[in-house]
Structure formats: structure tokens, C-alpha cells
């Protein structure tokens, strides 16, 4: 299909140009990001003075560029954009992503008219346009990027985001917890390529297994519903709706010119279409970690192993509230573990299992390993290991450092050997030092593919939605 072919060109350009790439301007930052990501094709800079930028020779117009250009990033002022589109059409450019703002989102008549013109030009010339007021495309396989710190390895998650900032946040935060992307598109005002084009494309895309969307408003509600419904049939779709309150909706209008609709309408529409809804960026990251990394637990029986009595009580509350069962530790196993210590004072041995008296060394490894394999692991469907950094009363920095290294090594070892879905909750982080240590542990775990969360509530909520997604699918399959 022609539509898919042109969108395909977005993710596989052989040459890229940045218009408005002058030293110190936003265009230079785009250029730097593309250069830093190791884009293999030709990269051209365009600015009116032809001044060299970031070591790249610049041309004064797109017409001057010697070779063909597939994809152009536009960072020139709004009034000059229509002429640039015409020039691009003449040059044979297939797609443009327009970073430039000052269109319909400005709320001004001139801005709206300018956007309508851009959109007309796109249709007339056949050049596909992303934006305006967006960051464009991140596609690690093609080494196309709009930031210098995103992962260069591709993954199986696609993200579409109406806000550039929120899209960047989601990529960064999820990437640091082990999620990798097939492609991400920040699409802004959606004057040509819109959320429906992208969702329909991703339904076909064999590189994508999970789709996440941050959406402020849609152009064509009926088509959008259909696109989400069809996509949900083949892949999980996670949606965060920005502007779901009426006030938030007004702000969305001034942000991306979106007509945002009301919370009720959106909630029931997404629910019906089979999408999984997130209500904050943090929740979306938890969902991405879960859907991208966690194998599907067979049921709702959770094991909770880790440090701290109060933390165990609160963890149980969070899991129970999210609809999980916390099966009692089998008596035989309880006796076996108690036997290892002589005393059980200060420990909780019922599930949750409070191991704070054991520390995080070999003893911890042995017990968790035993808990996961007992009775062929038949008493549990998945397990969460939790560590509460800010609850430890006495560790000196150096003692904690050793403990943390041990913990990282043992937890990744257990994860490698475990046959049950297993996740880690690093919680109660307070100081910058806590965060640094948590980051070290998290990096080790995320690299090994283990889901990591920063609160028990976040983990419980995300895993609940993950299970509900699969329960619903099973119900639909057995009905059909």
C-alpha cells in the first residue's frame, strides 16, 4: 500500500538533511543527535549563510544539496515552512518532520491558517509531514535519533507521542529499565501524518510487538477507535491520554492544537477498544517495563521476599488491593528455612518473607532459590524481591556498598536461574547515594532483562494490568 510505503520511508531514509542547522540553533542539536547516533547515510546541513556547523559543510538551500534527500528535519521559522515544503517536493524528499512551532497550537488565526496551508501542501505534493511542533523520528535500526542519549540497540516496543517532551521522557526512563524500541515518533500537531496512520502502520510492523501511545487529542475519532481496536487484537496497546480532565484538555489545545474530549468518553472508548490505560508517565514506564520484559505469569499468586517487617506489611496491602493472592508459605518449607537459622526472631516466615536478618549474601540466595523451586515452584505464579534502601538503620556507606554489590550479583544470578517470572522492587530511595546505588543494581538487572520497579504500588498496578490484558485476551479467544 502506498501509505505504508511512504511511512516506511520515514524509518529507512538513506540520506537526511536538517534545515535551520546553524551554530547555536535547535537545528544544530538535531544534527548533533543524528551524527552521534551513527547514521550511515549522507547527512546534510542547511542554513541561509552556508556556515559550517558541527563539522558538516552547510548548503544555503535544499536545492543546492548534491545528492538525493529522503528525510528532512525542519527547524526554520514558521512563515518560511511552506516554501521549504515546495522546495522539498521539487528535490524529491519523501518526508519532513517539522520541529518548528507557531502553528495551530498558538491559538492564533495566522498559526491556524499556516498549518492548514502546510497540510494542503503535503497532500498536493505527496511529501509526508510529521508535526509541526514535534521532535520527529527515533529509529535505532536506521540510526535516526532526536537526542544524544537514547539506546542505539533496537527493541520490540514502538512509541508514538504527541508531546516531544513526554516522548523523550518515556524513552529515557524506560530505556534505563531495560526497554528497547523499534521506533518512536513524536508527532506534535499531526497536520498530515496522524495517530491513526501511525497506529495502522504499527499493526503491520513486524518489528513491533508492544505499542505505547501518549495522545492529547485525535483528528478522526471513528478511525482512531477502529485503529486501536484492530491494533489491540494483534499487540498490546498502552495509552496515556493527556488532557483527560476538561482543564487539562484546554491546555492540550494550546500545546498541540488537539481537541481533547472528556475523560469519560476517552476512558470508555479506550476500554472498549481493548487498550491498556495509563494515567501518568511513571505508570506508563512501569507498564512498558512489564509488557516488554515480564513473561506472562500463569496466575495471581505472588511471593514477596525481602527486607523489612513494615515494608512486608505494606507490600502485602498493595498486592492484595491490586487483586493478588499471597499464598501462605508451605509448612514444610517454613520449617526447613527456620531450621537453617535456629531462631526465627525478627523474621517473618509466612509470605511475605522478611529476610532482613539474613542480609543479602549467599544465605539470601539460597533461601530465595529454594522458595522459587520448592514443589516445582507450584505454590507461586510469580515473585517480587524487594529491598528498602531508606529503611536500613545502621549500614555505614562502605558496609552498604559491599552489601549492594552482593545483592546485585545474587539477584541477577537468581533471575538467570529462575523459571518463574521474577521482578525486583528497589524502594524507599531517599538520598542521592541511595539513587546511585539503586541505579547500579538496576543497570545490572535491566541488562539481564529483569523488570525493576521503584515502588510496590507501581509494580502491583502494572502487573495487574498485564494480567488483566491476558485474561481478557483469553476470554476473547475462548468466546471466538
Amino acid at each position: 500500500m502506498a501509505e505504508e510505503a511512504t511511512l516506511e520511508a520515514l524509518f529507512n531514509p538513506t540520506s537526511v538533511a536538517v534545515a535551520g542547522a546553524a551554530p547555536g540553533k535547535a537545528g544544530q542539536l538535531f544534527l548533533d543527535s543524528i551524527l552521534a547516533s551513527g547514521f550511515r547515510g549522507n547527512v546534510y546541513a542547511i542554513n541561509p549563510k552556508g556556515a559550517e556547523v558541527s563539522g558538516v559543510r552547510a548548503y544555503t538551500s535544499i536545492g543546492e544539496v548534491p545528492g538525493p534527500v529522503d528525510y528532512l528535519v525542519c527547524c526554520i521559522p514558521a512563515p518560511a515552512v511552506p516554501q521549504l515544503i515546495k522546495d522539498c517536493a521539487a528535490k524529491g524528499v519523501k518526508a519532513i518532520s517539522i520541529f518548528t512551532a507557531g502553528f495551530s497550537e498558538s491559538g492564533l488565526e495566522t498559526g491556524r491558517q499556516l498549518e492548514a496551508e502546510v497540510s494542503r501542501l503535503a497532500r498536493a505534493t505527496g511529501v509526508r509531514i510529521i508535526g509541526p511542533n514535534c521532535l520527529g523520528v527515533y529509529c535505532p535500526r536506521a540510526a535516526l535519533c532526536f537526542a544524544t542519549d537514547f539506546p542505539s540497540e533496537p527493541g520490540r516496543v514502538a512509541l508514538i507521542g504527541q508531546s516531544g517532551g513526554n516522548t523523550s521522557y518515556l524513552i529515557r526512563a524506560a530505556a534505563h529499565r531495560g526497554v528497547r524500541f523499534s521506533k518512536a515518533i513524536s508527532y506534535g500537531n499531526a497536520c498530515d501524518v496522524n495517530e491513526c496512520d501511525l497506529l495502522e502502520y504499527l499493526a503491520q510492523d513486524s518489528e513491533t510487538e508492544v505499542v505505547a501511545a501518549y495522545i492529547e487529542g485525535v483528528r478522526d475519532g471513528r478511525r482512531f477507535y477502529r485503529a486501536i481496536r484492530e491494533l489491540s487484537k494483534v499487540k498490546p496497546v498502552l495509552v496515556l491520554k493527556g488532557g483527560y480532565t476538561s482543564v487539562g484538555g484546554e491546555i492540550a489545545a494550546s500545546h498541540t492544537g488537539a481537541l481533547a474530549g472528556s475523560a469519560n468518553v476517552w476512558g470508555s472508548l479506550l476500554e472498549q477498544a481493548g487498550a491498556v490505560q495509563a494515567y501518568s508517565l511513571e505508570e506508563m514506564v512501569d507498564l512498558l517495563v512489564t509488557f516488554a520484559l515480564m513473561p506472562h505469569p500463569k496466575g495471581r499468586r505472588a511471593g514477596v521476599f525481602g527486607g523489612g517487617g513494615g515494608a512486608s506489611v505494606l507490600a502485602t496491602d498493595e498486592l492484595a488491593r491490586a487483586g493478588f493472592a499471597i499464598p501462605a508459605l508451605p509448612l514444610k518449607l517454613r520449617e526447613e528455612i527456620a531450621g537453617l537459622f535456629g531462631t526465627t526472631a525478627g523474621m517473618i516466615l509466612r509470605n511475605p518473607i522478611d529476610l532482613s536478618m539474613v542480609g543479602y549474601g549467599q544465605g539470601f540466595y539460597n533461601i530465595v532459590k529454594r522458595l522459587l523451586t520448592f514443589d516445582d515452584g507450584d505454590w507461586l505464579d510469580f515473585a517480587l524481591v524487594h529491598a528498602g534502601f531508606g529503611q536500613a538503620a545502621w549500614f555505614s556507606a562502605s558496609a552498604f556498598e559491599r552489601e549492594i554489590e552482593l545483592f546485585r550479583d545474587f539477584i541477577t544470578r537468581i533471575y538467570g536461574e529462575a523459571e518463574k517470572p521474577l521482578a525486583l522492587v528497589l524502594q524507599f530511595l531517599i538520598t542521592s547515594w541511595d539513587w546511585q546505588k539503586a541505579l547500579d543494581v538496576q543497570r545490572g538487572c535491566s541488562e539481564a532483562g529483569m523488570p525493576v520497579y521503584h515502588s510496590m504500588a507501581g509494580a502491583a498496578n502494572a502487573i495487574d494490568k498485564f494480567l488483566r490484558y491476558h485474561e481478557r485476551r483469553q476470554a476473547a479467544t475462548s468466546q471466538g
Binding site: 521532535l135 517532551g165 517487617g309 539513587w435
Partner: protein, 480 residues
């Protein structure tokens, strides 16, 4: 006449039983030395003649001077004899760190706990615990952890779990909250939650009381004490074990009978206490109640960057019952005059200055908005970190410095409610360090800092509701 509990917080001398190196008593002793306890400290150790540079005694009766307070870390079976020795020595109060009592779920543990409760009553020694951390009182130099602030403040904490005590004091301490005293009271076999609440109602050093409770010993007394305390001071309560599964975990943590969730909701509401839903939520409430200047109403102004983050921020505040008034024209003009770039500047509330706006002009902008009469009741400076696409470390640091400068200077110069919300994205370590510096400096200057819009909005909503309710009650009393 001093109330019986007063002496808990002001002992002239104390002994730590079970203080041999490597044992918990040794670590508690170190915490006391670290907190610079001003009176005499006597370690008791059978195996060592000195511990941490202090002369150690083989038994309590060998200590030459008087001993007011004993921290007990000897194994459970030895506790009854130690209590008798304490009575003989004239000790007034003991903290029993030792675990292995009713919380173990064994008949033996329950009997032992009943026995020590009887002993305490018959010989007049007051007991905290067992299975607890005891007392933190910075004024007296009493502490149970290395990591707690040494300065005093106006918040009291009554906490059934040791780890939760450490976390609550440390985490809210990190965000500028200071405590008059905190009591980790564990199984509550003698001194219980009711008596502690009664104490805090009278305590002139305490203005706000935080409570983490798993179950009550004496429901009637607790409810009366909570109602009475709530009439005098705001009381913030986390109920651990509010689900059935959580209650079972609580039983094995502190031997508590935990009650049902709905019952607790009603009970807290009736008593006039404020419910916190997690420890993190409790910390947000403590930051609010101890640092935020009382807003006169629910009009909020949000000043910060990133369109998408502003859309979500608006949803969070609207959801919590706040309104975002439009920016008056005159103020719009003033703000526009201060900002030089045109693209991305949204002159709605939230004010989006785009990422280039956190510069030296930021202070002027924030100051003019906060001081504008009749615009808002509460100002929120928004730092949506992780959204910025390109900033290199040095530029990021400079940007954070200008935010810090704007927040702290405005907070000092204008006596109006102002908070900082920063998203604590866990990614690169250099980012983390810079963010941490921003947070700590603002917290030290007395600015309430939150890590998400939702948590700020929800905490401030309950703060306002507390005062609305008090005003309504006062008006009723006047009218009646």
C-alpha cells in the same frame, strides 16, 4: 509533676544490654554516640571490657551510677530477668529491641510477652516494644539510626514498625522536615499507641503528629486519644495491614490485630485524622504540613517548561480539585516582555517557557507571577526533568542553578505559598546528582519539594481540606 512518658525522652543515663561487637546492640550504641547523647552511656557486654571506646560492664548491677533508661538487645528468654534487674537498679524505662515474642505466632512467644507485660506493671518499669527500635529525640541526643537529622523540629512520630520509622524520619528529614521525637513501639506490650497519642497531645514541643499503625491494643482508648489529639494538632495516619492479607502479615510482624480497611477509613474520618496511603504519601503530607504556607484558596499557577508535562500537570491538579485561573492580560504582557524567544511560549496557565527559559530571566518571571495580586493562591515551579532532549551536563547544571536561584530567592522575598515539583528521573548519574543538589538546597531553604504533580496535588488537597474542616468546626462552635 512530669508525666510518666516525659522521662523516656530525657534520660540522664542509659545502658545498652547486649552491646558486644557485631550485635544489634553494638550498632544501636554507635547510633547513640553518633547522635551525641549528652548523658552517661554504659554498654553491657559479657565478653568485652570496652565497647566503642566506652568501658563495658558484665551486668547492669555492676554499673556504678544510676541508670534511667535501658535498651535491651539480649535474646528473648533472658528478657524477664533483665527487667527484674532493671527494677532493682531503679531503671525507669526500657526499650526492647529483642524480637521473638507474640509476633512469632508461637505459644511460647505469646506467653513470654504476657510475662514481661506483667513484670513491667508489677515492678513499675515502663516498656517500649518488644520488637522495636525505641526512641529518636534529637534534643536529648537519642537515636536509633546513623542517618537521622541531629536538629530538632516540631513533628512527632508514633510508629509501630522500626524500618518505617527509619524511613519516615530520614526521608522527610531529607526534604526539610524536623522531628521533636519519634517512637518506634513494636508489639506495644506496655506503652501503647493510645498512651503515646495522649502524650503528644500534651507535648508542647510537637505541632504535628504522624502515625504508622498496624493494629491497636486498646481500641476505645486509641479512638479517644486520636480524637482528642486531632482537635489540637493535625494527625497523619498510615494504616499498615489494611487489607486482609496485609493484616495477616501485620500479625506476624508486630503481633497486631489489624481490623478491616473500611472500619479504619470511618474511624480516622470520625476522629478528624488525615489518612496517608503509603509511607511516601506520609512523607509528602509531612512536607506539606510542616513547610507549606497555608494557601487561601484553590487557585494554582504552574510555572515551568514542556507542553506535554504541563498537560499532565493540569490533569493532576484538576483531578485533586484545584483550578488553574487564566493569566491576566497585564501579567501576560509582563511575562512576554521578559522572554525573548517566541516559539513554544504558551501564555496559558501552566506557563510554558520552553526549555530555553530556565535562565537568568526565570527568577524575574517567577517573582512577578508569585507576587501578582489576585492571580493565584499557590505557586508551583515545575521542573520536568528528563524531558529536555539535548542538554549537555554543564548546560543542565546551569539551568538547575537558575531554577534553584529563582525558587529560593522568591520563597525568601515573598511570603506566599510556593512549592517546587521536580520529576526524579532515574537515569544518568550526573543528572541525578544535579537534581539532588537542586532538591536539597530548596528543602534546606524551607521550600516544600515534591517528586510528582500528582503527589503534590493530593497532599496539598488534604492540607486545605484539614483547614477547611477546622474553619467549619470553629464557625459552627461560634454559631452554636
Amino acid at each position: 509533676m512530669p508525666t510518666p512518658l516525659d522521662q523516656l525522652f530525657n534520660p540522664a543515663s542509659l545502658a545498652v544490654a547486649g552491646a558486644s561487637p557485631g550485635k544489634p546492640g553494638y550498632l544501636l550504641l554507635d547510633s547513640l554516640l553518633n547522635a551525641r547523647f549528652k548523658g552517661q552511656i554504659y554498654p553491657i557486654s559479657r565478653s568485652c571490657s570496652d565497647v566503642s571506646g566506652l568501658k563495658a560492664y558484665a551486668s547492669l548491677k555492676d554499673i556504678p551510677g544510676t541508670v534511667d533508661y535501658v535498651i535491651c538487645c539480649v535474646p528473648a528468654p533472658q528478657v524477664p530477668q533483665l527487667i527484674r534487674d532493671c527494677a532493682a537498679k531503679g531503671v525507669k524505662a526500657m526499650t526492647l529491641f529483642t524480637a521473638g515474642f507474640s509476633e512469632s505466632g508461637t505459644e511460647q512467644g505469646k506467653e513470654l510477652e504476657a510475662e514481661i507485660a506483667r513484670l513491667a506493671r508489677s515492678c513499675g518499669v515502663r516498656l517500649i516494644g518488644p520488637n522495636c527500635m525505641g526512641i529518636y529525640c534529637p534534643k536529648a541526643g537519642l537515636s536509633f539510626s546513623y542517618h537521622l537529622p541531629t536538629e530538632s523540629g516540631r513533628v512527632g512520630l508514633v510508629c509501630q514498625s522500626g524500618g518505617s520509622s527509619v524511613y519516615t524520619v530520614q526521608a522527610s528529614g531529607y526534604r526539610g522536615v524536623r522531628f521533636s521525637k519519634a517512637v518506634s513501639y513494636g508489639n506495644a506490650c506496655d506503652i501503647n499507641e493510645g498512651e503515646l497519642l495522649e502524650y503528644f497531645a500534651r507535648d508542647t514541643e510537637t505541632d504535628i503528629v504522624a502515625v504508622y499503625i498496624e493494629g491497636v491494643k486498646d481500641g476505645r482508648r486509641f479512638f479517644r486519644a486520636l480524637s482528642d489529639l486531632s482537635r489540637k494538632k493535625p494527625v497523619l495516619v498510615v494504616k499498615g495491614g489494611h487489607t486482609r492479607a496485609g493484616a495477616q502479615a501485620a500479625a506476624s510482624h508486630t503481633g497486631a490485630l489489624a481490623g478491616s480497611d473500611r472500619l479504619w477509613d470511618d474511624l480516622l474520618e470520625q476522629a478528624g485524622a488525615i489518612r496517608a496511603h503509603s509511607l511516601e504519601d506520609l512523607v509528602d503530607l509531612l512536607v506539606t504540613f510542616s513547610l507549606l504556607r497555608l494557601p487561601r484558596g484553590r487557585k494554582v499557577g504552574i510555572y515551568g517548561s514542556a507542553g506535554g508535562a504541563s498537560v499532565l500537570a493540569t490533569d493532576d491538579w484538576a483531578q485533586a480539585g484545584f483550578e488553574l485561573p487564566r493569566v491576566p492580560d497585564q501579567l501576560k504582557e509582563e511575562a512576554s516582555a521578559l522572554v525573548s524567544n517566541d516559539a513554544g511560549l504558551i501564555l496559558h496557565n501552566p506557563l510554558d517557557f520552553s526549555m530555553f527559559a530556565y535562565t537568568e530571566t526565570f527568577y524575574g518571571l517567577v517573582r512577578s507571577l508569585v507576587s501578582a495580586d489576585g492571580f493565584v493562591d499557590l505557586s508551583v515551579v515545575h521542573m520536568p526533568t528528563g524531558h529536555g532532549a539535548w542538554l549537555p551536563p554543564a548546560a543542565f547544571e546551569a539551568m538547575m542553578e537558575s531554577v534553584r536561584d529563582a525558587v529560593i530567592r522568591t520563597h525568601r522575598e515573598i511570603n506566599r505559598p510556593l512549592v517546587l515539583v521536580m520529576h526524579y528521573l532515574v537515569t544518568e548519574w550526573h543528572w541525578q546528582k544535579t537534581l539532588d543538589k537542586l532538591q536539597r538546597r530548596c528543602s534546606e531553604a524551607g521550600v516544600p519539594v515534591y517528586y510528582s504533580m500528582a503527589s503534590a496535588a493530593n497532599a496539598i488537597d488534604r492540607f486545605l481540606r484539614y483547614y477547611e474542616r477546622r474553619q467549619a468546626t470553629a464557625a459552627q462552635a461560634k454559631g452554636g
